[in-house]
Symmetry: C2
Amino acid sequence: MRPQEDRMEDLRSRALEYARRNRDVTLEQLVEFLGIPSVSQRPADKEHIRLAAEWIARRLESVPLERSEIMGTDGNPVVYAESMAAGPDAPTVMFYGHYDVQSAAPLNDWDNDPYEPVVIGDELFARGASDNKGMIMACVAAVEAAARAGELPVNIKFLIEGEEEIGSVNLPGFLSTHRELLSCDFVVNPDVGILGEDMPTIFYGLRGMFACRLKVRGPSQDLHSGGFGGVVHNPIHALCEIVAGLHDSEGRVVLPRFYESVRPLTEEEHAEMSSLPLDEDAYLRQSGAPELWGDKDYAPVERAGARPALDVVCIDGGTEKAAIPTEAAALLTVRLVPDQTPEEVRLQLTEHLEEHAPASVRWELENCEGFPASITDRKAPPVTALARSLERVWGSPPVFHRSGGSIAAVGQMQEILGVDSVLTGFSLPDDRVHGPNEKLHLPTWTRGIESLVHFLYELTGASGSQ
Amino acid sequence: MRPQEDRMEDLRSRALEYARRNRDVTLEQLVEFLGIPSVSQRPADKEHIRLAAEWIARRLESVPLERSEIMGTDGNPVVYAESMAAGPDAPTVMFYGHYDVQSAAPLNDWDNDPYEPVVIGDELFARGASDNKGMIMACVAAVEAAARAGELPVNIKFLIEGEEEIGSVNLPGFLSTHRELLSCDFVVNPDVGILGEDMPTIFYGLRGMFACRLKVRGPSQDLHSGGFGGVVHNPIHALCEIVAGLHDSEGRVVLPRFYESVRPLTEEEHAEMSSLPLDEDAYLRQSGAPELWGDKDYAPVERAGARPALDVVCIDGGTEKAAIPTEAAALLTVRLVPDQTPEEVRLQLTEHLEEHAPASVRWELENCEGFPASITDRKAPPVTALARSLERVWGSPPVFHRSGGSIAAVGQMQEILGVDSVLTGFSLPDDRVHGPNEKLHLPTWTRGIESLVHFLYELTGASGSQ
């Protein structure tokens, strides 16, 4: 096997060399990609969605890959590409990404146009710079480097969807329809970021999500607050009472049986999390909040990663008019951890509201949806291969962590394709993903590309094949 | 005095006859007036504000009145008109009105275009039909009828402002500057409506207003709710906790000393209010709320008219994105009763927030403004003259009541011009003032015009002059 190993090392060196030489070209391409405002929340942006899909499909074709195409779904299209040239004995890795971005509203909060990327020092500012176009381009650059170095050491698939920011609503249908096409050994999902510039991270857990709209209705028409103030229950007040009543004074969610199905942290996890440099100060610094909040029985890092959290992310009721409105509404999200299910939380919330919502208003839950949390085997070969790759570039082994975020695609792929996802990423906690002035830390991104190059070669050992 | 009295009765008959004959023309004019969307909340509507001011100035000129002009303020102009032909010994009555209207948003809730008035049966549907263009036109029609019958029995002034729906912010300045021009014996303010179709009403009290914006700020940037959910206090939750904590479980406001300066109801007032057909069923029917709410120590009619009320009329925070927002805000209004002051309520609210707002967020009060409640002498000659006029048309004496609404102009005129306002109106409780499908009940409006005609002649007796 020696000559084969030498050949791999030779290819790896050339690929790394290519990736370094080509880094600025990749950055220019990323800037072009970021210029397309492919927001999936707004139906008005369909044209931009199409442009972004076409852009990344062309880019994948030019890697070159054997096949690259835009495939329809009931919503925004999926871009699929592959190279199976490594042969049936080589592992097949599928890179997942999403070309859609979060809305950049409110634009006033941005220092620059979110769709005219600007590099300031080590940072690239644009909507999607970190989430997720920068990550897609890191994967593309790594695969391209390996392809240009000679031949690809493993089989490669790309699945780049256009609806991640709206819950990957049509991905399950797509996965079911194309189960065979998408078969692979595992998925690389670089949509989670790392814990710090000097802290490469592999995430082995993700929180799930339950989301719904809680609507509270009172009077049948807007009422003059002069004529009815003090006589009917203002739906805004009733909604506030309900929202205020969802947590106890210690920041714990009070829904019945809410924590019963929460899987406790193991001693090992607890020790690992304690060793992370994610103490109260780090969370205070990153958030800019006056003080931290939440269940004091758990450290902040545990609360964010391994405990469920309930947040009203949007509340809306009334107008500037001096009127008691007919209704008020809250968009409620619950980050789930194993082994909670969206359906059990929906039932708990319903039970809670039935018992505690004031009789002076009517309420309803609308648009209930969600997916469970997921957790991956930390000893699986692709995970250890990625760990070695990150260590080669950063010089220290990665930390293993559970992310507080939620990626619907991970659970869907586990369920429908039967494959685990290896979760990492090269965005930093202060990259303001989803917020104004989203950015990408370019030195970390560059290291990310090189790690992914290593990863392609580490996999050939890790898989035990050849 | 006999011939003079006969002459007055003769003029009154001719004026009533003219008003009846001219009623449909007046209605057509009202429809034209209502077609101008003179919303004062939106700076974009300045052109419509100007058109509405010009329209009513021209209309007043054609009454005819000796003088009618548009006069500048620091904001929307005031339309002023007068006839002083009755001479220095006759009383001078100033009709107050406002040509601005509330925004009609959300337009979807209207069955018809709010600015294309539609008559269905006895009702005229349009924004401003009741509040306040219909009332202005009733006053104009009555004065015109008296003018066309011969000569006006009293001196007449009209002050029609364009900023009532934004708190009459520039009226105090205008009143101060033109104190002499605006001198009069009393003001007729038909901006309060009546309690029922068969219940002509004179209001001798109005609630005042304290308004402010409560802003709650947490993290310095929007935070991904996956990364920070459960770790920082969501400003939406904090705001809900604050709003929920403003009332106790009985619906009483918990601000410190809040009820201390509230003037208790007299036995007479209590008896009068109890006799009104405004029981729980009436409030339930008018509001469409599932049940009533508020301090059970007081009847609904007392809570609405003679007790203070705190309402959040608007709440806003976050977006559809899964993010913990940097801030959330509530527009808070307090309807004041004698002898509360806006400033004391501001201090009470500040004290309450200092003690109870969670330390995990920052808060501030912005745009604090307000004016006190007002109360009028029920035995004053213009009040008794109006009572007789209403009785002549309706056949039963009016009820005396305190309105839960607030009209800044009333307090301002009391303070700056030293004149009381006689408060009535011809809109009904279900006219959806400020709401969608605002309407005017035309038979009541017609009776209103005739009552105002009577009023002009009753005043000559009431004043004791001539």
